[in-house]
Every structure is written in C-alpha cells, then in structure tokens.
Symmetry: C2
Subunit: 83 residues, 2 copies
C-alpha cells in the first residue's frame, strides 16, 4: 500500500531562527503589521508500507534518524493512504 | 486584534526540487521504501489586523509581494484569531 506522509520540522523554542527574523524585518520594512515570523520545513513523502501502523513507525524513524535534529528541532506528521 | 497565519509555499509542478531529491536519495540509502519527497516551507506569522478579512488580504499580499515567487511557487494559507 502507498501512503503519503506530511512531516513538519520546526525549531524548538529558544533556538534562533535567522530566516524568520530576516523575513519579519523585510515584511516590516514593506509596512506590514507583523509581530513575529517563524519558518519551518515540510517534507511530503510517499512511501510503501504494509499498513498505516508500519508507515507511522517508518516515518517516525526517518524523522529521528535523518530529517529532524533532536537538539534543535521538533517534528510532527500526518499520514494518509493514497488512492 | 491579533491573528496567526500559517503560510505554505511549495514548488509548482515541473520545477526541480534538489533538496527533495537529495533527501529522497538519503532515505533510500538508509533502506526506506520511499517513492518521492517534496520539500516546502511554512511561515507562521503573527500580525495585527482589524478583522479576519483584513488579515486575509494582508497575508495574500505578503505572499505575492515577498514570500512566494510567482514563477515557481504555489502558496496557500490559513488564518486564525489568537486568544
């Protein structure tokens, strides 16, 4: 079965986010009433697995092994079966 | 009123996504049954606006003026009022 996982990797609280800060500055310079900007990354991955449970386990492992840095990143994901 | 906007910027179909391709290769080398990987970016912005409608209009304009490149990017966003 094919599954589509949508994985969001964001910075943990307290870690500096230079890209977000620069974006906020640029938006303020353009006159927008911005308070804060945070940037995160989304991976959309299609994978094959025998069940939703296995897909879940694989994606969680991928996050821990490769996609997220446990020192500075939080991750969350959703999984759906593809038609 | 304060609003929180979550803006997702992704590549239009047909544009090359080297980061996604490299991530897919790395995951395959680790033995994961991956088909494709697409990377996109999420901006979480807090802004002040008089109404949800105005917040919507401002965020759409920010996307067109700064955050998304109309040649290669799609964008979508959601807005919620902050407590």
């Amino acid at each position: 079965m094919m599954y589509r996982a949508k994985i969001e990797i964001s910075l943990k609280q307290g870690h500096s986010d230079p890209e977000g800060e620069t974006t906020a500055e640029s938006l303020k310079e353009l006159g927008y009433p911005i308070e804060t900007t945070k940037v995160s990354k989304v991976y959309e991955i299609t994978l094959s697995a025998r069940s939703a449970k296995e897909a879940n386990r694989l994606v969680d492992e991928m996050c821990r092994r490769l996609l997220a840095n446990p020192t500075k990143d939080n991750y969350s994901f959703t999984i759906e079966e593809m038609q």
